[in-house]
Amino acid sequence: MNSILKYFKGLFIGIKSLLMGMSVTWKELWTKKVTQQYPENRKTLVISDRFRCELVMPHDDKNEHACTSCGICQTNCPNGTISITTKMIETEDGKKKKILDKYIWDLGMCTFCNLCVITCPSDAISFNKQFENAVFTRSKLIQTLNKEGSKLREKKKEVKTAEVKSEVATEPKAVKSVGILLGAIAEAKSAKTTETTPTKNTENKSTDNL
């Protein structure tokens, strides 16, 4: 008797689960299709926000970028895709200053891990969605990201307050980067920061964060 009961129970559970499954697939049949018909819909193509294609350095209309050439991205890159060359210039008030000469990025070696963008303290670089990167020669994949004649975006005139302000502005970024890249990377970053930026404040800040 018990086995007969079990038989009918199994039967009804089977039918019920089949109908449930069929209702799920039926709903799925009418959902919006995700296929992108690429060459035709090139203009209206939808690319995910998280998609990473080309590393770019955004320049504003005055041809200025935010890269302080601190080299953190270069240190963090797992396969040496980024190489930064700097040069020393003399500012008007006679101070020597290191500025960015060339920011070279090799698309062919990049794994699009996003570590450079995460660790950049001044939000100078980002990945865009330009995915049509096929070229015929490998040398074309090596790109210089800073534009010809571009320069570092100037901070505010009063030096003392500007430094404080910029620190406040970069604080969340630093916290974020430390949060994401624990341990070794963060250490490397703080070491690098102390090396490149001569102000004592920054040093204090990075140790605070650690």
Binding site: Y7, G10, L11, G14, I15, L18, G21, M22, V24, T25, W26, E28, L29, T31, K32, K33, V34, T35, Q37
Partner: protein
């Protein structure tokens, strides 16, 4: 036998043959489209509008492929396998009534190829021969995976044929005839067999899935474990025959389900429509094809809903669930038949 009758029968046979081939051809496209839509894709849409030329392209591709035969294969049986499968798949459409009678110039033309009085038996005899095509193909390939697939096909057919026959016997009991034409004619209007035989229908449709080797009963093919099952060693149009016959079988099975349980060419309110009998026949045929299309869609729907059974699950389901169910249904039908005699 006059020449008039001969031309009518020959043209009907040719028409049914072409129609089954055409429907099987577009069933492949429908399958791919439906599969795509179930998976949030669009399916093939490059060859022609909505991919309408895709089956042509597929067929052409299969013809162009290199004909490969394994070195140790039995040449005769290797070719016999797909031929037999295809032949048998096409044969079974002969007894299905595709419509009522067309009256042209005072002469009645039946839209059924052959109204033989054991039509149901004929269909199932022919369908069960289909397993020989699979068996022979799998055996002749001289490949362990192919043989494994063939053995599975054979055991699956035997297991599910039993329950299927039981379901059929109940239909025969209620209608009192083995002729498919009689069975369909008795379901006039909306008086369909499904209302009296729901359990039988359930058993029948499950067995039809198993007989067509469709998911969840596609163990003979079973890409994940047996590569391609019985057609592992087949290429070119021989493979095409195997794949094609699967769709023809699906079409025939849908036609049988519609004829036996869903009234075939009958449709509700066919007597109160007030049009000439010829129009009723034409509408009836259209309705039959709508029913067939629906069941073919159900075949695909289930395919993208259920995963494949394991072999022991398949056997247990066939022998311990379906067969008792069909038997109980048989006894109950007999009981009620005696009660309301």
């Amino acid at each position: 036998m006059d020449i008039h009758f001969l031309t009518y029968k020959l043209s009907l046979a040719g028409g049914i043959l072409l129609l089954s081939l055409l429907i099987a051809m577009y069933a492949t496209l429908l399958e791919r489209k439906v599969a795509g839509f179930f998976q949030d894709r669009l399916g093939p849409n490059r060859a022609g509008t909505f991919g309408l030329l895709q089956p042509v392209a597929d067929g052409l591709k299969l013809f162009m492929k290199e004909e490969f035969m394994p070195a140790n294969a039995d040449k005769f049986l290797y070719i016999l396998g797909p031929s037999l499968t295809m032949l048998v798949a096409l044969l079974s459409s002969a007894v299905i009534p595709w419509g009522g009678n067309l009256n042209i110039g005072g002469v009645d033309y039946s839209l059924q190829m052959a109204d033989i009085n054991i039509g149901v038996l004929y269909t199932f005899a022919v369908v069960s021969i289909g397993v020989y095509g699979v068996m022979i193909g799998g055996w002749a390939s001289n490949n362990k995976y192919a043989l494994m697939g063939a053995v599975r096909a054979a055991s699956q057919m035997i297991s599910y044929e039993l329950a299927m026959s039981m379901a059929i016997v109940t239909i025969v009991m209620t209608t009192g005839s083995l002729s498919v034409n009689d069975i369909v004619a008795q379901q006039h209007g909306f008086n369909w067999n499904i209302w009296t035989q729901p359990i039988g229908f359930l058993v029948f449709i499950v067995c039809a899935f198993a007989e067509c080797n469709r998911t969840p009963f596609d163990l003979p093919e079973c890409e994940t474990e047996l590569i391609g099952g019985y057609h592992t060693e087949y290429s070119s149009m021989k493979l095409g025959f195997y794949l094609f016959s699967e769709y023809i079988n699906m079409f025939i099975a849908s036609a049988m389900i519609s004829s036996l349980y869903f009234g075939g060419y009958n449709f509700p309110f066919m007597d109160v429509l007030g049009v000439s009998p010829n129009w009723i026949t034409i509408i009836g045929t259209a309705v039959l094809f709508i029913k067939i299309a629906f069941f073919m869609f159900v075949f695909m729907w289930i395919r993208w809903t259920l995963p494949r059974f394991r072999y022991d699950q398949l056997m247990r389901f066939g022998w311990k669930v379906l067969l008792p169910m069909a038997m109980v249904n048989l006894i109950l039908t007999g009981f009620f038949k005696l009660l309301f005699k």
